[in-house]
């Protein structure tokens, strides 16, 4: 057979194995989609939504734009390896296709310099050879950076890199080996046949022809074997993300979402994690407490293989659910939901626990807005009082839903994996709100707000009180005076990263005071430490996290620290001499008297 040599066998077998294993896994996962996910997939399988998905696949799987935005050095490293390799394959296929006269097999594209033993004959062929060398150099620059990162991750701007398993380390070594071996093999061939580009020919000319003749075959064989190792290990290691992310992006675009149990879709999410470790640097438990084994990367790794059950449970519990890692995740994996799945309480999660709530009757609130203070606001009554002052000032009739008896919104239960119990509470609250006929729901607690906004299916608008006040000021219904107060604003996790409400609170604060900038704000804001998501860390550890957040807020020397969450207010209130107030309080104090 022409264009064949035994050394291509490892590569051929490896690539066939890779194809079969991946197909098997993907088909199995798609069959494991739950009913809703299958429905969404069938409904949108051929739709216009495919177009933005293609762009996202290109920008994320190849160009890695999201990583670049966070850290350009890491971005360059990933892009050079992913995009560089992709182009090597693409241009290589094209070059070998037009250069091969007879018997084209797909391995010829990979080992083209070995099979095509003549210098480039045409201008096109010469240009393609130079491009291939340039691309190889591009990939090699990424591999060099990866080696530096292994030695000292801070060079690439990462405080702490992921601690990988043996398999992950083994495949990484094979990845690092592929391109230097390709360079050596092509150089050896270039020495013998003068078919190299600017890079391989220059290195090839350094070999003496005798040496090149001896080394050529071992180099190409080694190159083929290393490719084989990489392909065979790929489906069982973190490099599975290369192909899986493409599918994940498509599935997300056609409307598939995580649900409360591990489904086939979760399998796609779990395998899309490249274990880059960006979630570790982001995590307050690592930054402030030095805890390094509970971060999303490790939870996802164990969930993917469903091994180390004790570790999954322990790591799953120890998380503030501050969304900080989800913000930094370059793959945008629904990390919070996967963590909730790991907390599933199983048999403990009963239904009909809250029959005692049946006697709670709804209120006729037609023409009013419903105001839900939330459990935590009952411990900070100044917030609810301020809100009532504001309602009265603008002449808004309201129904204070939980004025003396408060039913929880259900989110704290949901966060701890009590899905059924949380659903019971949601059902009760939905009944109360819908039957009341209220036209709008306003809440003072970001936890409740997230719950009403994302988990309830209410037909009326849901507003956090900062949104509501911002609306009142914009419409001119509420006149406020701008005092000479200097404030810093603390973005609550659930309101900011959770729901994307960053501007409304700032607008309100700018209307009544001078808003100072802090180092960590908006997406980068720090958790106050009291987030209900965590049931493991101690009071002392919570205080450490709180102090970091407080230092950030105190740095510009404000008169008042403003926040929009009763929990955050509680966290800061007694730990600083500076006054801590909710936005509603500051507004209520600065209402312009007619």
């Amino acid at each position: 057979m022409e264009n064949f040599s035994p050394f291509v066998l490892p590569f051929v077998l490896g690539s066939i194995a890779l194809l079969i294993i991946c197909l098997y896994k993907y088909i199995r996962w798609i069959r494991q989609f739950d009913r809703l996910q299958k429905k969404a997939l069938l409904k949108n399988i051929i739709s216009i939504k495919f177009l933005p998905a293609i762009w996202e696949m290109f920008s994320e799987c190849l160009l890695h734009l999201r990583i670049t935005k966070k850290n350009w050095r890491l971005g360059y490293m990933h892009r050079s390896i992913a995009f560089g390799w992709f182009l090597l394959i693409l241009v290589g296929a094209f070059e070998s296709r037009i250069g091969t006269k007879s018997d084209f097999h797909y391995w010829v594209a990979i080992f083209y310099r070995y099979f095509h033993q003549t210098p480039p004959e045409t201008h096109t062929a010469w240009v393609l050879t130079q491009i291939m060398d340039l691309l190889l150099l591009y990939v090699l620059s990424g591999i060099t950076l990866a080696l530096f990162k292994k030695i000292h991750s801070r060079i690439l701007g990462m405080k702490r890199a992921t601690k990988h398993t043996l398999m992950d380390r083994a495949i990484r070594v094979s990845l690092w080996g592929i391109f230097p071996l390709r360079l050596l093999s092509e150089s050896a061939s270039a020495c013998l046949y003068h078919n190299g580009g600017f890079l391989t020919q220059t290195i090839g000319d350094l070999f003496s022809p005798h040496v090149a003749e001896v080394l050529e075959m071992p180099f190409w064989t080694l190159y083929s074997i290393v490719l084989c190792i990489f392909f065979v290990l790929l489906p069982f290691t973190r490099y599975m993300h290369i192909f899986t992310e493409v599918f994940l992006i498509y599935f997300r675009k056609v409307g598939l979402r995580e649900h409360t149990k591990l489904t086939g879709f979760s399998k796609f999410e779990l395998s899309s994690c490249s274990r880059c470790g960006m979630c570790i640097d982001a995590c307050p438990l690592y930054k402030d407490l030095g805890i390094t084994d509970v971060q999303s990367v490790y939870l996802l790794r164990n969930l993917r293989n469903l091994e180390h059950h004790k570790d999954i449970i322990a790591a799953g519990k120890n998380c503030l659910m501050c969304h900080r890692c989800a913000e930094d995740c370059p793959v945008n994996i629904d990390l919070m939901n996967l963590r909730r799945i790991s907390r599933d309480k199983g048999e403990l999660d009963l239904t009909d626990n809250y029959k005692y709530l049946n006697k709670v009757k709804s209120f006729n609130a037609i023409g009013r807005v419903a105001y839900f203070g939330g459990c935590m606001s009952h411990l900070t009554p100044s917030i609810t009082e301020s809100m009532q002052t504001i309602f009265k000032t603008v002449g808004q009739h309201y129904w204070f839903m939980d004025e003396d008896k408060s039913i929880c919104c259900g989110r704290p239960l949901l966060q701890q994996g009590f899905n059924n119990q949380a659903a019971d509470l949601r059902r009760k609250n939905t009944d109360l709100i819908i039957n009341s006929g209220a036209q709008m729901l306003i809440t003072s607690c970001p936890i409740c707000y997230t719950s009403f906004k994302k988990e309830y299916k209410l037909s009326i608008p849901v507003l956090h009180h900062t949104e509501y006040i911002d609306m009142l000021i914009k419409k001119g219904k509420l006149k406020v005076k701008k005092g000479d107060l200097k404030v810093t604003y603390h973005d609550p996790c659930e309101l900011g990263r959770g729901c994307g409400i960053y501007n409304e609170p700032r607008n309100v604060l700018k209307a009544v005071s001078t808003l100072l900038k802090t180092e960590h704000e908006k997406e980068n804001s720090l958790c106050c430490g009291l987030n209900l998501g965590n049931t493991v860390i101690s009071l002392e550890q919570q205080s450490t996290i709180r102090n970091t957040a407080l230092d950030n807020l105190m740095a510009p020397h404000p008169d008042v620290i403003a926040t929009a969450c009763p929990m955050c207010k509680k966290a800061f209130k007694h730990s600083t001499d500076v006054n801590v107030k909710d936005i509603a309080e500051i507004v209520a104090e600065n209402i312009e008297k007619k």
């Binding site: 591990l262 969930l303 469903l306 059950h309 999954i312 449970i313 799953g316 799945i341 790991s342 907390r343 599933d344 309480k345 199983g346 048999e347 403990l348 009963l350 626990n353 809250y354 005692y356 709530l357 006697k359 709670v360 459990c375 935590m376 009952h378 411990l379 003396d404 008896k405 408060s406 039913i407 929880c408 259900g410 704290p412 239960l413 701890q416 994996g417 009590f418 119990q421 509470l425 009291l530 209900l532 049931t535 493991v536 101690s538 009071l539 929990m567 509680k570």
Partner: protein, 114 residues
């Protein structure tokens, strides 16, 4: 007799050396902050579920501490896990964790994965 909403408790004695405290000891390992509890009742006073029922979290964990586990799980099911008790506790006891762990120990269940 007039109903005042409260009555005199019956006299009773508990021999702690006879009760099985293994579950309580296990609980202390999982929630060490519970050692600090002084049974002040702040948790019960702030409890959201308490406003609707006779659920008494202080009483419940006191019973647990004495090894009297009867019907505690049914009581604990009333909790909505809102976390007010944890926030008001003057001794920094992690009550939400305590409640979840008490329920898991009493029913001998654990998280389910997959």
């Amino acid at each position: 007799m007039a109903d005042f909403g409260f009555s005199i408790s019956k006299t009773r004695s508990i021999n702690l050396s006879k009760s099985d405290l293994s579950k309580y000891e296990h609980l202390l390992e999982l929630v060490p902050s519970f050692k600090r509890c002084i049974s002040c009742g702040g948790c019960t006073a702030s409890c959201s579920a308490r406003q609707f029922t006779d659920f008494n979290i202080r009483k419940t964990h006191c019973y647990f501490r004495r090894g009297q586990y009867d019907k505690l799980e049914q009581e604990l099911q009333k909790c909505m896990l809102c976390g007010k008790c944890t926030l008001v506790c003057p001794r920094g006891v992690n009550l939400r964790s305590l409640i979840i762990n008490m329920r898991q120990i009493l029913t001998n269940t654990n998280e389910i994965i997959g």
